[in-house]
């Protein structure tokens, strides 16, 4: 019974944990501008994160080592250092965007400007990572993030042109007043939001913190294959409600207040409150994950002590890196860059950095030295290779598309 409960909890937190500021922004923007003509990208993205998270979970459960730890052995210290630099930059930018997202959610609840919240959030975030128990944090924010289900239910309450939505989903194209460049730019951003690199670092490091072993393989797989797709459903609901409310008005979304509006239209104040709470939990949870991920990646490259299982004084370098990461994220926001814009840039850089994360996973998951007979089967390798090609294509296309479309501005 306890086992069933643990698995259920894992799934629920995976659902809530899938959505972060990148998903919120990318899905709402895509929905408003293109309807649900990008629905297929979400499907592709969710399958991709499932394939690779399963590999990462398996590597960690069998070898007892997080993925990033093994990367250096396979790539050598130089390439792995370059990889570390790239991943760290993206993770810190993502951390900044998540903190900004928490600030925006608090602004919606209090109407106090988000910038005034940023230092407060930074401190609370640090305190949480310093003191609180890992599993408690994960469960609280994962479960609270589930209130984003309000967007799923909202869709059924909103007056929607179902035929038109079906047409958009089955005939993917830019539609009136938009071009293919922006369409693909948005597709790359959505893909990157589903496969954000920190999710894998965090997933495999978290598995070590929870002391998974080969017996936990099933738990890992259930979490991945139930949690991520259902999380993707929440992301899709954001796209869907945005497509229902904003697309017919030709209204593009560029603020978090707009993203919450469909929930308010469907359910009034209660729906609005649920949406804001959901944004808060999702972004704060993601801020914790990215904050820890900065420490994980650096400590695992150098072989330092890391993790929340240890007392902070026994992992001084790890906690220093986490602290520095949070400060750097705050510093980015303090340039007064709009958090939504920061999120957009972060997604582009994530897309560029995706191969850095996913290629090593595929290599390690095929290594009999670590995995014995639990190496990738034909299906995992087939899908893994296909996705590696997609990931490379997205990485190569991201910057040119950003320049041609002027950040999707047309």
């Amino acid at each position: 019974m306890k086992r069933v409960f643990a698995v259920a909890l894992g799934i629920l937190t995976a659902i809530g944990g899938f959505v972060d500021i990148g998903d919120i922004v990318a899905n709402a923007e895509a929905g408003a501008r293109f309807g649900i003509a990008h629905a297929w990208v979400l499907v592709v993205g969710v399958v991709g994160i499932c394939v690779y998270a399963e590999m990462a979970g398996r590597v960690t459960a069998v070898s007892g080592r997080p993925v990033f730890d093994l990367v250096r052995e396979r790539l050598g210290p130089r390439v792995a250092l370059a990889n570390l630099a790239g991943s760290l930059l993206v993770t810190v930018l993502t951390l900044g965007a998540e903190i900004g997202g928490v600030g925006l959610a608090l602004q919606l609840a209090t109407s106090v400007d988000y910038l005034l919240w940023v230092p407060v959030i930074g401190f609370v975030l640090w305190a949480a990572l310093w003191r609180a128990k890992f599993s408690v944090l994960e469960n609280i924010f994962g479960l609270t993030g589930l209130v984003l289900i309000v967007f799923v239910i909202a869709y059924f309450r909103l007056p929607a042109d179902h035929g038109e939505l079906l047409r958009q989903a089955t005939h993917p194209s830019p539609g009136d007043g938009e071009d293919w460049g922006t369409y693909w730019f948005m597709a790359v951003a959505l893909f990157a939001s589903a496969l954000t690199p920190y999710e894998v670092f965090f997933f495999s490091s978290g598995a070590v913190e929870e002391r998974w072993n080969a017996k936990d393989l099933l738990t890992s797989r259930i979490n991945v294959f139930a949690g991520f797709p259902l999380g993707g459903l929440l992301a899709f609901a954001l796209m869907l409600t945005s497509a229902t409310v904003f697309h017919p008005l030709d209204l593009s979304v560029d603020s978090l207040s707009q993203v919450a509006l469909p929930a308010a239209i469907a359910f009034g104040k209660l729906g609005l409150a649920a949406a804001i709470l959901g944004f808060f939990a999702a972004t704060f949870g993601a801020a914790m994950e990215t904050g820890l991920s900065t420490g994980y990646t650096v400590a695992q490259y150098f072989g330092w002590n890391w993790g929340k299982l240890r007392k902070p004084r026994d992992a001084a370098r790890f906690h220093t890196v986490v602290m520095a990461g949070i400060l750097a994220g705050i510093a980015v926001l303090m340039t007064s860059i709009d958090p939504i814009q920061l999120t957009e840039y972060t997604l582009v850089f994530s897309a560029v950095a995706l191969p850095l994360t996913y290629l090593p996973i595929l290599v390690v998951a095929n290594d009999r030295g670590y995995l014995g007979d639990r190496v990738n089967g034909r299906l995992a390798n087939g899908l893994g290779t296909v996705y590696l090609i997609v990931v490379l294509a997205a990485a190569v296309a991201a910057i040119p598309l950003m320049i041609i479309t002027r950040m999707g501005g047309g």
Partner: protein
């Protein structure tokens, strides 16, 4: 028979499974590995180039007293080599990594709650 190439960049754990560092380099005598070298100094020297030199120089300066040679772990302390290198001793018997010590003494241990389990 241990081959240096297989050991390089592997995680080193002590007898309790606590991380000690990575195999940042190995010391070879007459074609066999006699010791593992660990720490940013050894790593920097192995990486080479400007970045490598910078990493090594910073690590050298951090060591207490300065300009210590990198931490050296003789191979007879190795108990087992799997996805990590496990030692037969506890890490208290090894040289403390200088950066860890410095950050602990000057920053982390001074913050309330540093000694508590979370």
């Amino acid at each position: 028979m241990l081959i240096g190439f297989d050991l390089l960049d592997r995680q080193i754990l002590d007898a309790d499974g606590e991380p000690v560092g990575k195999v940042d380099d190995v010391e070879i005598e007459d074609g066999t590995v006699v010791a593992l070298l660990s720490g940013q100094q050894a790593l920097g020297e192995r990486i080479g180039g400007r970045i490598g030199r910078w990493i090594a120089a910073t690590a050298r300066r951090m060591s207490e007293p300065p300009d210590q040679p990198p931490a050296r772990i003789p191979v007879d302390l190795i108990a087992e080599v799997t996805s990590a290198v496990t030692l037969s001793v506890r890490r208290e018997l090894l040289v403390d990594p200088p950066l860890e010590t410095w950050l602990r003494d000057h920053l982390i241990a001074r913050i309330p709650g540093a000694r508590d389990e979370s």
